[in-house]
Amino acid sequence: MKAPQEERPIKDSTAAQVLQDPFPPRVSLTLLQGFHNDTFCDVLAMQGLSNAAEGGRHFISSALKVYNDLALERPDLLEALATPNWTLYKYACTPSIFLSNKNRT
């Protein structure tokens, strides 16, 4: 016997076809990220699979040029950067920012 309409379980087949994307596309603005190195890696490789609507360019800059400019302009800052007393967030190590040949193994 056919159940009356109101007793049937509700099933929306249209909605069931749509796979839920846990991170649906959204309109967003992401702020600038200043110059940095990545932590602990040797070669950084990046592949852009799609571009933003606006902005998002990458810039690179030579650490050696920064070093040379600082050596001329502000040797005191260079010394500060080469001193191993920079306590990094979460790490129990205090590396210097400019690395030297000393202490390499």
């Binding site: 990220q33 940095h36 602990f40 070669v43 609507a53 990458h58």
Partner: protein
């Protein structure tokens, strides 16, 4: 060069731990100088979807300008941390442990997210910690 200012000064949503000693004014000035001089010599990379960039992380700084995603144009970048054991520069002691964790720790699994979907989102701290 090991320039990771996010770890030193924090980010808006990931502030510097209060138990760490504060940076000196000279140290702040030095961080700003690195940013300023890097900008002076910067090269802009214009990559099209699919292009690959490989940089020596110990010799080259990188930065990214602000961007806006809309519902159609969504920035999607795959980042890979790679190492050539033969050619890699020898690192000073404080950096060896972190480097070893990334490349020689058998417990860490390789995570590849080259497929376009599903999108992976990483916790902001995970972005710069091994």
């Amino acid at each position: 060069m090991n320039f990771v200012p996010q770890s030193l000064v924090g980010l808006p949503n990931s502030t510097r731990a209060t138990e760490l000693p504060p940076l000196s004014p000279l140290q702040y000035e030095a961080l700003e100088a690195v940013q300023r001089i890097s900008e002076k010599h910067q090269l802009s990379l214009s990559f099209k979807p699919g292009d690959l960039t490989f940089i020596n992380n110990w010799a080259i700084l990188h930065a990214r300008e602000a961007f806006r995603d809309d519902s159609v144009n969504q920035r999607y970048l795959v980042r890979m941390w790679l190492k050539n054991d033969t050619l890699a520069w020898k690192l000073p002691n404080p950096l060896q442990e972190g480097n070893r964790k990334i490349f020689h720790d058998k417990r860490s699994v390789e995570n590849w997210n080259v497929a376009y979907t599903p999108r992976l989102r990483f916790d902001i701290r995970e972005c710069f910690t091994p």
